[in-house]
Symmetry: C2
Amino acid sequence: MDSSTHATPPRKPVNQVRYELLTLGDELLLGLTANGHLTFIGQQLGRRGVQLDRNVTITDEAGAIARQFRESWARADVVITTGGLGPTCDDRTRDVLAEVLGQKLVFDPAIEQAMLDRFAAFGRKMTPNNLKQAYRFERAEVIPNANGTAPGLWVEQDGRVLCMLPGPPNELQPMFVNQILPRLAQLGLLLDREAYVQIRTAGIGESGLETKLQPIFDQHGDALSIAFCAHQGMVDCRLSSPSGKYSLSQIDEVARDCGRLLGEDLTCYGHDSLAKVASDLLRAQEKRLAVAETATGGLLANAFTELGGACKFFAGGVVCCSNDARMQLLDIPECLLLQHGAVSAECAVAMATGAAETLGADYAIAVTGFGGETTGPGGNPIGTIYIALHAPHGVWSKKLSYPGPRPTIKTRAVNAALDWLRRELLRAASGAVTPIRRTGAMQ
Amino acid sequence: MDSSTHATPPRKPVNQVRYELLTLGDELLLGLTANGHLTFIGQQLGRRGVQLDRNVTITDEAGAIARQFRESWARADVVITTGGLGPTCDDRTRDVLAEVLGQKLVFDPAIEQAMLDRFAAFGRKMTPNNLKQAYRFERAEVIPNANGTAPGLWVEQDGRVLCMLPGPPNELQPMFVNQILPRLAQLGLLLDREAYVQIRTAGIGESGLETKLQPIFDQHGDALSIAFCAHQGMVDCRLSSPSGKYSLSQIDEVARDCGRLLGEDLTCYGHDSLAKVASDLLRAQEKRLAVAETATGGLLANAFTELGGACKFFAGGVVCCSNDARMQLLDIPECLLLQHGAVSAECAVAMATGAAETLGADYAIAVTGFGGETTGPGGNPIGTIYIALHAPHGVWSKKLSYPGPRPTIKTRAVNAALDWLRRELLRAASGAVTPIRRTGAMQ
């Protein structure tokens, strides 16, 4: 596109660029689909030093789209829309926005060809209503869609930018990261690198973390901006320098200082999940893991199987809801269950060791407890959780207690278990522990 | 509250009442927290015949809140806000909205007492910043919060309604259902009953469902409005009568006709999950279930353990990522794995039967396949899934193939497995099947 024919956005500091996200679709307003686009795009922009001014979700109705778009276009420097680009009659975004911006829609044979190729690759015939998607604004660039038929559109007009993206997340997300972010960076509308360095921690509270890091922060005064974000047993600390006094590599240096001070409380720099961090340690040490779970009901296993190539380090997991299952799958003696109950330190330890032995794993974590609505037997209140960790150098348990509804308890318990595993793997890597060796006589 | 002192909202048909939802919080705009309030409130209102006009998510900054609230208050009949009612300095909703509406904030000793009681019950001391939450609009009703300190507020002014709700979902959700919905219904701003009857189906496509039901719909003409919503192997069909020609019980009768025509394709009337429907059948037949999974990595077990009292019918589950785990936990012969591979009909059947036998369950479902980024061995493409069902009357497998990213494949596979189990349980309940009896000689 020849950008000289229409005004490009004005240059200003990226944190003053006004972004609006318009998410279109009745299914969002009726709660049939979660608004994951806000989460994804908000996160991606945040990493590049930009916060959305506003996200507006509206209906598919043409009048409502036109009214809202006019208002947002008047306020913002960049408007991003999601949805309403598909082939059916309720996909009105393209038509309505073209009209508001006074642009003609023109048929683009290259888009048609890309669609025909895509249908052919899947051995399907293209229905005529798909051709609607081959029309683009006369003054726009096409953003190719590697995972679907509807391409995105990039429009520079009135000193503003409009990005129109299709609704399906697996289509939108790679388009946004690979095509939209670089274009926005090129126009100086966001940073061309991460805006902050994130220190991710676990097992330490927000105020504890702040207290621990304060001596470092004090050395840097107002050159450094610090933001904390706590989520279910993890606390992220983001370091940035909005004033520009520090370069990214200087911020990075401060972050490394913080990391050294934090020791094991640091899980990673960046955004990796606890399961990812723990699995990297397992792979590096060529160890295998097994899990056994009651209260977390499959989520602990899922945290690992979500990761690519989990078979390399994840031996397997057992979800047991009954004592029979515990005895059968994990070889837990009935007398132990009868004496201590299933929600006990003793049972957690037996589950962890049972999982490691049965599945031939080096490490195992077990979670047992009450995540439900009713108080457990033996007076154990809801939210009582026992975690056990089996490692080549020993087996231990701890008792935890979480308030809150079942999903919160589950997530907290999963994170606590993953964090413990991570810490033991760190200790093992540092040579601080010695594996227990079985003597011939004991075997 | 004496409603004569300030105008109550005008009476009009509920589908013309304009609702706006303002979700407040930088954490939403930065994608740190998903906007679950839109999903929840959108769903709740939808069930009562109302669709949100708009959802606007904005920052915690006072100027932005005031500007957006003024605009929404001018457009809408009902404005619902979430967040910003807590004790900290970035909780500004109460102050800002009071100023915009010209209301004084008054200290309410009853709110203070409720907070003191809550702190005492948890054995904690209340910090002074909490007192901020004891201030309410002078002309407002307090919406008690059973699960937190910040109460909600209900304001009728300018012929409009304002509901202010706290941000944590476990606080907001029961307040909305138990206190806000009945108040809105009393003012005629939404229906005092469900607006539609939902027929939930599985294992049949959207167009197939429409074709099957069309003869019934044809009999009712424009008295009936029909909407379809497909999600990951399930299709919901909602019947309503926006014209009011049919009463809810008449719609219900039509829905029952549809249900009879659909037979096993009907999973339920309403919103129950497939796991809930299957587990109700298991409980009614006093049968127990086990699961064994690879590709779904723990999500199949989680679908059941999410339900209250899962121990009554759920024996347990096994997540296996390696052949060793399959052999160890499920007693699968190595020769079978070597000959057919782990992603095969033969392995799926052996996993299901192994899970049933090992865990002493009557039914078992097994899922094995490739959900990852790479093509599996033996030329099996990504998204190839084998499901097996073990029942007292036999064991079978089927091959499925799903496109899409890993989370989609997992959800589709879980739903397909749950649906198959549900259908076999229905057949068993109807007496259409005979359990296989082992003869003495065979044992």
